[in-house]
């Protein structure tokens, strides 16, 4: 595999692949492709991988020597795969942006100089890319936020942000899968449970999807909440064709 990548040993049983440090779709595309290729071709050596914007950590079985694994992947021909493109879904997440569920909307309005209606329309018009999952079990790092909504994180993080909160922070937006401290600005809430440990697939995201938010009323929020609780809600999901 000859690519613009640095290969490093990362502790006793791991290897780190790094592209040049930047957040963009092109690097993300490479990271996705190589991650997929690694998991497909070296599944006997790899316990699991963690990918981020421009890195992949490859956690190896204990009997695998990281230096040797680096040699192995360097000398194996990388064949780009098309299969992971076929399975990209666009998932629509309903979000209620009404003030009772948007504790930081006033602050966002003040800092951005936009009206709350404008904030909602900017936040819902974009199709976001899940760059990776991290921070909390099931937390998607979403890229693609419009510039007008770039707002520095809160100076002091809140000690508890409600599960389902939709927030913006810096150049990113995300959904809190569980109650957690956090430094992003909460601008709404989804009635969906995005991470449920009692399901065989606990996370509604695998980390390769596209996401769009849809604005809903408080009444709709309550109605979807009860559907979710009754196990009767079906996720709005369609194949993404770029």
């Amino acid at each position: 595999m000859k690519l613009d990548v640095t290969y490093r040993v990362f502790g006793d049983h791991a290897v780190l692949l790094d592209w040049s440090p930047q957040i963009n779709e092109q690097t993300h595309g490479w990271v996705l492709q190589i991650d997929h290729w690694l998991l497909l071709n070296f599944k006997n050596d790899i316990v699991e991988t963690v990918r981020t914007y421009h890195s992949i950590a490859i956690y190896l079985h204990r009997d695998i020597v990281p230096q040797e694994f680096i040699q192995l992947i360097k000398t194996t021909t990388f064949i780009p795969s098309t299969t992971n493109n076929e399975n990209t879904y666009l998932i629509t997440i309903p979000v209620c942006y009404e003030s009772s569920l948007a504790i930081d909307m006033d602050e966002v309005v003040r800092v951005s100089g936009l009206s709350s209606e404008h904030v909602v329309s900017l936040h819902t018009k974009v199709i976001y890319t899940i760059f990776f999952m991290g921070f909390l079990p099931g937390f998607p790092y979403l890229g693609g936020l419009t510039k007008e909504l770039f707002i520095p994180r809160r100076d002091s993080p809140r000690s508890s942000i409600d599960k389902g909160s939709v927030a913006i922070g810096g150049v990113q937006t995300g959904i809190y899968p569980s109650n957690s401290p956090g430094g992003w600005h909460v601008i709404g809430k989804t009635p969906l449970v995005i991470f449920d440990i009692n399901k065989s697939e606990p996370s509604i995201f695998k980390g390769v999807e596209k996401v769009q938010f849809r604005s809903i009323s408080l009444t709709e929020f309550q109605s979807i909440s009860s559907q979710v609780a009754a196990g009767k809600y079906s996720l709005e999901k369609e194949v993404w064709r770029g």
Binding site: R8, V9, G11, V50, T52, H54, G134, P137, Y141, G207
Partner: protein, 279 residues
């Protein structure tokens, strides 16, 4: 059945860890001191990664409602069965109705109680390790009732000599991905400084206090693992431990060896350590 009369400071069931879900942001968890966990299991004849009870500084009191074969390893608690002192690092036979009291640790932080057959608990994502947000109970509380698993058929060992938690103050580490961001002076300071283990240390991270001038800019969020040493722009040093997040935005200046994570886990607040940087 075994019941907790008191819970101790922070007592939980841990095993070798939860693998396969880090890409979803799920930490691996598992015993803080793997070596001590494995030893306790070897003593009672369990597979090495069988679920054990992890006790922190102040241990719980347990009442056994079954006969059981147990072993206690790790930090130097002062365990008693029915108010009579018992040894660490050896096999112990407890009878139905016996009470085990762990007491307070005099040396080290984490102690392990293994029971032959293992502590029975529902697996979540392939592991019984208790973790907030994953397990229905993030840790064991007073009154909790645990079941003992079926006996395994491995050879048990009566006693293992020459096992003590490490008194080494040198912590072996590799240069981390951002080690090169540091100046030569900072790199040397990292190796030559005596760091104190801070009070705000827990299963997620150990904080190291110091008075040297060292810092690094934030990075674009990237993978981290247990043993990653993070340095913040304001100069805070944190060593990520078993419940660490899977990704982080601080400079990763060092990466501990697996064994060094075990050694560090047993250091109490105000104890000192030095890094030994491997080349």
């Amino acid at each position: 059945m075994v019941r907790l009369l008191t819970s101790g400071l922070y007592t939980s069931i841990q095993d070798g860890g939860r693998f396969g879900y880090r890409s979803l942001g799920v930490p691996i968890s598992g015993a803080m001191d793997h070596r001590a966990m494995m030893l306790s299991n070897v003593l009672v004849g369990n597979p090495v990664n069988t679920a054990v009870m992890e006790c922190t500084l102040q241990g719980p009191s347990l009442v056994f409602n079954v006969d059981a074969t147990i072993a206690i390893t790790g930090a130097h608690f002062a365990p008693k069965v029915n108010r009579k002192n018992v040894d660490l690092n050896t096999i112990l036979i407890v009878k139905k109705g016996d009470m085990l009291t762990l007491g307070t640790s005099e040396v080290g932080v984490y102690g392990y109680v293994a029971v032959q057959g293992g502590w029975n608990m529902d697996q979540v994502l392939g592991s019984v390790s208790q973790f907030k947000g994953i397990s229905s109970m993030p840790r064991l509380v007073k009154g909790a009732v645990l079941k003992v698993g079926r006996h395994s058929h491995l050879n048990k060992h009566d006693h293992i000599e020459a096992f003590a938690i490490s008194s080494k103050t040198h912590i072996d580490a590799y240069a981390g991905p951002e080690f090169g961001v540091l100046t030569k002076r900072e790199q040397m300071a990292l190796e030559q400084t005596e760091f104190y283990v801070g009070r705000e240390s827990n299963r997620m991270a150990y904080r190291l206090t110091h008075d040297i001038i060292i810092n690094a800019p934030e990075i674009i969020t990237a993978p981290v693992q247990p043993g990653t040493v993070q340095l913040t722009p304001s100069g805070d040093l944190m060593v990520l431990m078993r419940d660490a997040q899977t990704t982080g935005g601080y400079a990763r200046v060092l990466q501990l060896t697996n064994h060094a994570v075990d050694v560090l886990s047993q250091k109490r607040s105000e104890e000192t350590i030095r890094f030994n940087i491997l080349t």
